[in-house]
């Protein structure tokens, strides 16, 4: 690990990565794995040795310090740190258990989490070492300059006459396309497999209205018995709230936690779902939840820290 030091301190180009603050606070650690490896090497521990308790404490205090510094750190990275911190905490807890006894699934899960963390750390360490090799190699190679001179005039003259078929308008189109500011590419979490069809609250409200007008009071269970999936159940629930707000239905509940019965109280025929707000978006949601005191207060404190 002795070679990690100089490599980490090697002068780097101005932060092309665009998030200098975060890296600087971490003394140039490029991520949680890097920080963990740094801590492990600081204590001269073998990475495969199960002696993570001390490292865990330091890692968590790093995170605390980050938090106290109160700056906006990038959410992705913060969550990465938290995932690792949580894993480490679990591991630390596991060390408090009687050793050598694997009793239940939870113990096994902990052991697996430990192995996974080690595996990922080892892999990261391997790539870090390779990256250092690669960096040295790139630097050595940069000392060699390839011959790439422009064509001598007599050879350039031999090139076939350029065929140019691009009109002025097409050329401008090309420029416009190339110069268009590119939106950062979205993270490539594949969403293609999540093709849940959108369920319209209004459509569901129409179905409910029809059933209540035709069949009299119905329980919530009966109203949702034919729902193909949870989204439909949710949509019908939201539709009921909407309709209640519009005062076309009433709820009856005989006893606490008993069956909820819904009955139609609106006009006979000319009620229309047009009166409902678009896709539930206008339903007023309580602006602040009074019970959630501690969190906003904490956020406020963070703001003052600097």
């Amino acid at each position: 690990m002795t070679d990690a030091g100089p490599a980490a301190e090697a002068p780097t180009e101005p932060q092309a990565e665009g998030r200098p603050g975060f890296e600087v606070r971490l003394d140039n650690f490029t991520g949680p794995f890097d920080l963990l490896l740094g801590l492990i090497s600081k204590h001269e521990m073998d990475i495969t040795e199960v002696a993570l308790a001390r490292v865990t404490d330091e890692f968590i205090s790093y995170i605390r310090r980050l938090r106290e510094s109160g700056q906006d750190w990038v959410l992705d990275e913060a969550s990465e740190f938290l995932v690792i911190a949580a894993t480490l905490l679990d591991l630390k807890a596991a060390r408090l258990l009687p050793t050598g006894e694997v009793e239940d699934d939870e113990d096994i899960a902990l052991l697996e989490a430990r192995d996974l963390l080690f595996a990922r750390l080892l892999q990261y360490k391997a790539f870090k070492q390779i990256a250092a090799l690669m960096g040295r190699r790139l630097e050595e190679e940069a000392a060699r300059y390839p011959r790439q001179v422009s064509l001598e005039p007599q050879f350039a003259a031999l090139l076939p006459e350029l065929i140019w078929r691009t009109s002025l308008a097409d050329f401008a189109k090309l420029a416009a396309k190339a110069l268009e500011p590119k939106a950062p590419k979205p993270m490539e979490v594949g969403l293609a497999h999540l093709h849940a069809p959108a369920v319209s609250v209004k459509e569901q409200a129409a179905i409910i209205a029809e059933r209540l007008q035709d069949g009299g009071p119905l329980s919530f269970g009966a109203l949702t018995a034919d729902a193909a999936d949870t989204t439909v159940v949710v949509a019908r629930f939201l539709a009921l709230l909407e309709m209640f707000r519009d005062a076309v239905i009433a709820f009856d509940q005989a006893s606490p936690l008993g069956d909820l019965t819904v009955r139609w109280t609106g006009p006979e025929r000319d009620w229309s779902t047009e009166r409902l707000s678009e896709e539930y978006e206008d339903v007023p949601v309580p602006a602040a939840v009074p019970g959630d005191g501690p969190e906003p207060a904490e956020a406020g404190e963070e703001g003052h820290d600097d």
Partner: protein
Amino acid sequence: MTDGADAAPLPADESGADLHSLPGGPRAALEAVLMVIDEPATDVELATALDLPVAAVRTLLEELQRDYDGGSSPDDAPRGFELRSIAGGWRIFSRSDFADIVSGFILEGQTARLTQAALETLAVIAYRQPVSRARVSAIRGVNVDSVVRTLVQRGLIEDAGTDPETGGLLYRTTSYFLERLGIGNVSELPKLAPHLPGLENLADIDDSDI
């Protein structure tokens, strides 16, 4: 060359014989071609240009290489340049001993150093290619979007289609990457295994984790 069909067909050996009649012969002809290339040329391309068998050209190339390195010179002094086979082709480079002197004359081409993060990302892509950003992120434990953009911009990695399963873009290293690293092929990268004590089946681990 494209007019060859119109002209009287030349017997293959006549062209070779022509070469021998020129001062310096095939060796000098090869040097002349090496003087005008601006990217590595394969031995097949060079053999086509000289109308010589590929094996003969390969021998000549190796002779030139030794010659420039000082092996065949009377006083054994190396030349200020060298002939190297990298990224699948041959090309002339200034000798690295003179980097300081040469750099004063070269305005462009020497790009800024890569950051630690960029190097690590490049290493993961080089060994796991073709690979998606999500996979690289998982291995490095951080988001790599902007680093990947930088690497593409610098021509070190490129698009390699989309992953049929996740639909994510895949990346691979370019021939420019090989050139910058001075190797002929990705398989010449140092082996990863010695850096991974006792974990031969890591691929299984990180795959399941994404």
